[in-house]
Symmetry: C2
Subunit: 438 residues, 2 copies
Amino acid sequence: MRLSSFFLPTLKETPAEAQIVSHRLMLRAGMIKQTAAGIYAWLPLGLRVLRRIETIVREEHNRFGFQELLMPTIQSADLWRESGRYDGYGKEMLRIKDRHERDLLYGPTNEEMITDIFRTHVKSYRQLPLTLYHIQWKFRDEIRPRFGVMRGREFLMKDAYSFDVDYLDARATYNRFFVCYLSTFRRMGLTPIPVRAETGPIGGDLSHEFHILADTGESELFVDRRLLDLDLTGRAFADDDEIGAFVKEVTDIYAAADEMHRADQCPVPPDDLVTRRGIEVGHIFHFGAKYSQPMGARITDPEGHEREVQMGSYGIGVSRLVGGIIEASHDDAGIVWPGSVAPFQVGVINLKAGDAACDAAAGDFYAKLRAAGVETLYDDTDERAGAKFATMDLIGLPWQVTVGPRGVKAGTVEVKDRASGEREELSIDAALAKLTAA
Amino acid sequence: MRLSSFFLPTLKETPAEAQIVSHRLMLRAGMIKQTAAGIYAWLPLGLRVLRRIETIVREEHNRFGFQELLMPTIQSADLWRESGRYDGYGKEMLRIKDRHERDLLYGPTNEEMITDIFRTHVKSYRQLPLTLYHIQWKFRDEIRPRFGVMRGREFLMKDAYSFDVDYLDARATYNRFFVCYLSTFRRMGLTPIPVRAETGPIGGDLSHEFHILADTGESELFVDRRLLDLDLTGRAFADDDEIGAFVKEVTDIYAAADEMHRADQCPVPPDDLVTRRGIEVGHIFHFGAKYSQPMGARITDPEGHEREVQMGSYGIGVSRLVGGIIEASHDDAGIVWPGSVAPFQVGVINLKAGDAACDAAAGDFYAKLRAAGVETLYDDTDERAGAKFATMDLIGLPWQVTVGPRGVKAGTVEVKDRASGEREELSIDAALAKLTAA
C-alpha cells in the first residue's frame, strides 16, 4: 500500500480525552475515530489489526474443532424472559422497541440464543460434543465508557458455547478451551496468565479469567512465580487426557487477580509470590444446566434417558485485545506490534520522494516485497524525513526500511527492527532476503 | 470437514412459512435459523457462503483501490439531524434511547457518519480521490419482513462512499464502481443487468441499479437484447478513459426495471425488447453535495478555493446475495452453488460407513483432497445411501464423489457434476486429478 493513497489520518497532538496509552496511540496512529460515546469507527489501519486478531482467534478455534456460526446483533427479549435474565440484567442492556412495539435488545452475550438454536436442532448425545462460536459485535451500555476500545459500548467479542452430555465431557471441553486460549494469546505475542474466577451460585472450580501482562494493566495479579517459569505454549497434545493433565499442572499453581486474592488466605510463601499488572482479555466458564434447565434444552443420553445438556461459555474480547496488545507493547515513540498482528510487516521509507534514483530504488524494493507476499506500507509522500520516521515509529510496523540518496548510490538500504531499535545497513538483496524470510 | 461432527441441521420437511425457493432451501439445507421476525442466525454452512461472497466483494473493491474501514452499527442521532434525515426517515429506522436518554439508532446506511469522518480528517484535494467502504450489519425495520434473507431486518451490506474534487472526477469514480460491480457479480456466477435508476431531486444520469437474472426474481426487466449479447466482464482497462468508454457503451443500450420502464416511451423496437426477471442486488449513486453541503465537508481545490466535496454511494446486499444466488441457481433437488461461492467444493459420500474397505478408501480420498487444499465435506455418517444423495443434492456442492463397495474393489469412484448431473466412473487418481485441477 502506498501511503500517498492510504487513508491514515495520524494526529500530531495527543488527544486530551484519552486517559490511557493505548487510547492515545490508537487515535494518534489513525486507527480509530470516536463516533459517539464509547463507539468507534475502525479506520483502515485499525481494521487491519482487528482482522488479524480475529483470524488468529478463528484459526485456533477451528483447530480444536469448534465450529463458527454467526448470530445476529439484535435479539428478541422473549428468549431472555425464558432464562429469567431480562428483568435482572440492568441498564447495561440496550433495550429497544421495534415499530410494532415488540421488545428487542442489542445482544450483550448469546447464551439464550445459542441454547434456543441447540434445543431446536439437537436431541441426542450422538450429536455431542458440540461447540459453536461466533465473532460478533456486542453492546453494553456502560455508564461511563472510557479507555477507548478497552471499555467501549459497541465491541467485538468472540463468544463460544459448548454442549456436552455430562460433567466429565464438559470438563474435557473446558480444558480444551483452556489450552486453546493459551495458544491464542501466545500467538499474539502476549503472556497470558489464567486466574481462578468467581463461579457464582453454580460453584465448582471451572471458571478462569485470562489476563495478559502489561505494566499499564488495570488489574493486579498475584502469581506464584513457578507459573511465570512454566512454558505455557508450544505443546502438542495427543488427547484429552494430556490436555487435562497439563491444565491441572497449570491450575494447581496459585494465581489470582485482586478481586479474588486474599492475602491472609494465600497459600504461597511471600517470597514466591510476585505481583504483576494485567488486562483481562478472556473468560471461560462452565455453568452446567443454568440455561438448559429453564429453557428445556434436553438430550437423550446413551442409556436412553433425557437429561439437560451441560453447557459452558468462553469469551475473548477481540476489539479489546487491540488496545490490550498496545498496552503490553509500546514505547515512547509509539506502538510496537508483534509480527502476528501487525497491520503491515514492513514500512518502506523513501527519504527523497521526487528524486528519480530514490523513487526507482524505493519503488522497486516495495514491488519486490509485494511480489514476495510481504504486507508493506510504502511511504512515497514528500513529507520531511523526521516526520516520516516519527510516523513509522508511531504506527509500529515490525520492520522499517529506509531508502535514501546515499544508500542508493552504494546499493544499500537501512533496515530497522522496531522492537529492538537495531539498525543495519544491508545490500538490497540481503535486505530483501531478510525481510521475506521473517 | 466430517459431516458426523459438522453442525448441519438439515430439514426433511419444507417449512410452511417460507414463500420463496431460496428461503425454503436455506432453511432445509441448515444454512440459517430465524431468531426473530426478519432476523437470522447464520449456521455454519450458511456462514461459509456469506463469507465467500464477502471475500469476493472485498477483493474486487481492493483491486480498484477502494479502502476498507469499519463503521459501528449504532449511530448517534445528532449526525442525522445535521443532514436533515433524522425526522424524515420514517419507521424503518430503528430508534433507540440509551441509559442517559440520548437518541441513538441502528444504522440503515452510513452517509452521515462517513461524511463526518471525512470532514474531520480531509481538507485538501491532494488527499483525493478517496473511496472508503465497509461491510457491516444494517437494520431496517421492515413492516412485514419476509422472503428470508432477501428482505430481512438485520442484513449485511457493503456500502462504499466516494469523495472527489469535482463532477468529472466523481464520474470517473462512478464508472470504476460500474465495472467493479459487473466483475463482482460475474465472479459469483451471476448475470448482472445494470438499469438506470431514479436520481431524485439531484437529477443527472449517475444512478444505476444492478439486477441479477433469476426466473423467480421479484422485478421485471425490459432489456434491449443487444445488452444480453454484450460481454460484460473479462475486460482489462488501461485507464479511466477506457472504463468510461465501456460504461458509455453499456449504458447507451436500453435497460429498465418495471418502475422506470414506460412502454409508450421505450426507444427499443418491440422485436428487440426482451423481458427478464431479476433481483436487485446493488445500487450506485452519485449525489454530489447532498451531504457535504449541510454537513460542511469542504476541501481546498487546486486553485486554493474551498468547495464542497463531491460524493457518491455504492451498495451491495451481501446477505441478500446468498438468497439471490440460490434464486438464480437451483433445481428441484436443491441448491446448485457456483464454484466461487460454494461452501465446500466437493462432497465425498462414503456409501457404506462401517465397512473397513469403504472407510479406508473414502477417508483416504478425503485426506488427499484436504491435503491439496480442496474444501471438502466428507459424509462419514451411517445414514442410508438415498438420504446421503438427497442431502448432497440439497446443499448443492459443485462436485460429489461417491465411494462404494463395488468401486472400492475396482479402484474407482463416481464423480458427479451437481450442475449438469453428469456422472463419471473414474480411477481414484483420475478423480483426484480432476477435482484438484478444478
